[in-house]
């Protein structure tokens, strides 16, 4: 492999103003953490780009890891030589002859940031192209739609040559903008919402409502596994998962309110619990996988009735997406197969046959007077069970507390 470094270009964060440093520090810290297993890597930081010196690490494995970091626009495999025409010519030909074996079209693109080199960019491009072409029978020039673009970036410290740009995840580095609380049932939508909100730099904690014995350890295992998939994008590869014991409150709703309002009021209770938890931990927002029109509780009127219990921003990244678009992302982030495991969760039990699609806020308030939900909410909050989910660690809800050491079996 001729390439000895990866050039990373930042995405949107290069547009930032005075707080740019915070963003750059965060993104570099995250990259270093994600690439911790590649011990030979070195980092060279410039004003608006970053070089990772490979020192014989596999570039594609490194890029796989970089594909978990938000805030990066693209990666290019590149190699470096001194900034003089002869060296550039030699290296350009080396790159072409190792990289390109099959007949194809190419062009050369030069960026001359260091003006002391005694030719214009166009002249340099032409000279390099001539040299490469003469020595590479497999190539023909096509300046309009080339298959391969040989990029030459001439700078004072040296010249970089690259052929391929690989797109990164884009977005903003996670952890630059505080944390949000993600509501996760175990379905297809919420993990996708969690992924998308991380893209905008929001760190996550996850909240799941469990209603044993109506829901089982298998449903908890599901959210554990889903959260694990999201840890990939967390800057320190860890996410806290909170399990709220919801049975008592859910049964009270069922006992004291009309069935058609059951889901609406349940969602209102969930928002109250999330808001109180978020407030006491200084999280400024709640995130969920709600989508307009998907089910009864997701009509505009339902959203209004449910949302009115809180003034905290509720961000719904999926609100306008079609199911197919959501599934496509779920497959990409490997949560789809986990989400479709067929277990009950708090949203699939006690589902009324005819849920109200235009719930009325005043009615909600009336029904909620039928029982002392404040006490039950406090009980939920006091009994939250929290686990820390770490990327790549198999975590089994049930076997975790078994007396026989499981790992010895393998």
């Amino acid at each position: 492999m001729l390439y000895d470094r990866i050039l990373i270009k930042y995405g949107e964060l290069s547009l930032k103003g005075r707080n740019k440093h915070t963003f750059l520090d965060t993104v570099l810290r995250t990259i270093k953490h994600k690439c911790i297993n590649f011990q030979n890597l070195e980092y060279e930081r410039f004003y608006d780009r970053l070089f990772i010196i490979l020192n014989n690490e596999d570039p594609f494995e490194v890029i796989d890891r970089l594909q978990t970091v938000f805030g990066l626009h693209s990666f290019s495999l590149c190699t470096k030589c001194e900034s003089n025409i002869e060296s550039i010519k030699t290296l350009a030909l080396d790159v072409v002859s190792t990289e390109i074996k099959n007949p194809t079209t190419f062009k050369v693109e030069t960026n001359r940031a260091w003006k002391e080199i005694p030719k214009t960019s166009i002249e340099i491009s032409q000279e390099i192209a001539r040299h490469v072409l003469k020595n590479s029978p497999q190539l023909t020039v096509d300046v309009h739609k080339p298959e391969v673009t040989l990029k030459i970036d001439i700078r004072a410290e040296g010249t970089y040559i690259m052929t391929r740009d690989i797109l990164g995840l884009g977005g903003l580095p996670v952890g630059t903008d505080g944390k949000g609380l993600l509501m996760m049932s175990g379905g297809i939508d919420s993990p996708v919402a969690g992924f998308l909100i991380q893209k905008r730099g929001v760190g996550l904690e996850v909240m799941h409502f469990a209603s044993p014995p109506y829901t089982s350890d298998r449903s908890i295992q599901k959210v554990v596994d889903l959260t694990e998939k999201l840890t990939k994008y967390a800057p320190n590869s860890k996410i806290k998962l909170h399990i709220v014991p919801f049975t008592k409150l859910q049964k009270a709703i069922f006992d004291y309110c009309p069935k058609s309002y059951g889901i609406t009021i349940m969602r209102r209770m969930m928002y109250r619990i999330c808001e109180q938890y978020a407030n006491s931990n200084n999280f400024p927002l709640i995130v969920n996988g709600e989508n307009l029109g998907q089910v009864a509780s997701q009509t505009m009127y339902s959203m209004y009735a449910i949302n009115s219990v809180t003034s905290m921003p509720i961000i719904r990244p999926l609100v306008t997406m079609d199911k197919n678009e959501i599934i496509r992302i779920a497959e990409k982030i490997e949560t789809y197969e986990i989400s479709i495991r067929p277990f009950e969760d708090c949203c699939t039990i006690f589902v009324p046959e005819n849920p109200v699609t235009k719930p009325d806020v005043h009615k909600c308030l009336e029904f909620e007077k039928n029982f002392d939900y404040e006490v039950l909410i406090k009980e939920c909050l006091d009994n939250i069970e929290t686990m820390e989910i770490v990327e790549g660690k198999a975590f089994n809800v049930v076997t975790e507390d078994s007396s026989c050491p499981i790992n010895d079996l393998f």
Binding site: S216, D217, R218, Q221, A394, N396, V398, T399, S402, S403, C404, I406, D408, L409, F410
Partner: protein, 376 residues
């Protein structure tokens, strides 16, 4: 006892047996049960699958646990033939496959499938050009073994995988029973769609095997009943066997390089001894061959006679493969590599292990001298 028949079966590793016993004692729940105790078994099953997939580059595969390699081979071959029979009825395999593959193809031929049995050269290897020419529009399956169980030949699986990449409609099944833990196997990288393994060939338990199935490949179950194992193999899943198979795989793959180097030395020692006897012809090839297997013929001496002659010394090796050795016919594999009936009936297989010691080979050498002299 000096056991030199590790290709037939291996002794179980202490740790593997312990894993089987502990799982049987502590986690005997049915993984299909809804309750927590069943869930533990399900978790163990999941962990076993994950470990096995990670070990041979099979992230995008499912692991179907079976009772043995024969079952896995049947499931793979009939499963594909029956699923894709409407798209085409042409199947390709080689003439030197294990009986569980060879006879399965013969039975499919009776069902009306068109089977091409590729010829092999004197080394027991198929010719890529011949394979290329055999591929037709209606070809749905190519099934080959990675390492031949009688003579140790390594088939050009990597090259075949590359070739078949250009034919996405053809499923590629590989019996990796004699390759696993002995030479590097990477399913995804090698473009293998289905792979058969067996536990008792890698110091695991008898009655345990598996079939790796690339996700998206559909096969028809050969046994009706419950929906276990992704609907591919009905019947309560044997969790202790699955867990201990995962362990056996990990342990043998841990030492792959070290064992390979060690066994290669032993192999050279045996070969050096064998070439001293003019009546012995080594049938295993010299290149692209597993060092774990040495096959040779003793001119004028029937396989059985030769095997029995070593019993007084408590030295055990094999005539042909154990699955066919009770039938008193010249070896199909050796005939396929060009041996005449006589030599093919006189073949003997010594198979080695990381457990084989230098002293054992010395003992073998001594016994060899006496036996050959007596038989002359």
């Amino acid at each position: 006892m000096i056991y030199l028949d590790y290709t037939s079966t291996t002794p179980v590793r202490e740790e593997v047996l312990e894993s089987f016993v502990q799982t049987t004692k502590n986690f005997w729940g049915n993984p299909s049960s809804l309750h927590k105790f069943g869930l533990i078994s399900e978790d163990l099953l999941k962990m076993a699958r994950k470990q096995m997939k990670d070990l041979i580059d099979a992230k995008n595969y499912e692991v179907v646990f079976t009772s043995c390699a024969t079952e896995s081979n049947n499931l793979a071959i009939k499963g594909i033939a029956h699923r894709k029979g409407n798209n085409g009825k042409h199947l390709i395999t080689s003439g030197v496959e294990h009986p569980s593959v060879y006879h399965t193809f013969e039975s499919l031929r009776e069902e009306g499938y068109d089977v091409t049995f590729l010829k092999v050269n004197k080394d027991g290897r198929i010719d890529l050009e011949e394979l290329k020419n055999a591929i037709r529009k209606d070809t749905i399956l190519v099934s080959l073994m990675f390492v031949n169980n009688e003579i140790g030949t390594i088939m050009p699986i990597i090259e075949v995988g590359k070739l078949l990449k250009k034919f996405p409609k053809i499923t590629f099944h590989v019996d990796i029973v004699q390759a696993l833990g002995k030479i590097p196997v990477k399913l995804d990288e090698m473009n293998i769609d289905l792979a058969t393994i067996s536990a008792h060939k890698i110091y695991g338990l008898k009655g345990s095997g598996a079939l790796f199935v690339r996700k998206g490949i559909e096969i028809v179950s050969q046994q009706t009943g419950g929906s276990q194992e992704f609907n591919l193999r009905a019947g309560t899943v044997d969790v202790p066997s699955a867990v201990s198979l995962a362990k056996a795989m990990r342990l043998i793959l841990n030492d792959l390089d070290k064992s390979y180097e060690y066994v290669t030395k032993l192999n050279n020692k045996v070969r050096t001894m064998l070439i001293n006897y003019p009546e012995i012809i080594i049938n295993s090839p010299v290149e692209q061959v597993s060092p774990y297997i040495i096959n040779f013929s003793v001119k004028g001496v029937k396989s059985e006679t030769f095997v029995h002659a070593f019993e007084p010394y408590e030295i055990y090796f094999s005539s042909k493969s154990a699955c066919s050795s009770k039938i008193s016919k010249p070896s199909r594999i050796l005939k396929a590599i060009g041996l005449d009936d006589d030599l093919a009936s006189n073949s003997v297989r010594i198979s080695l292990s990381h457990l084989t010691t230098d002293i054992e080979i010395d003992e073998l050498e001594k016994a060899f001298k006496e036996v050959i002299n007596n038989l002359r």
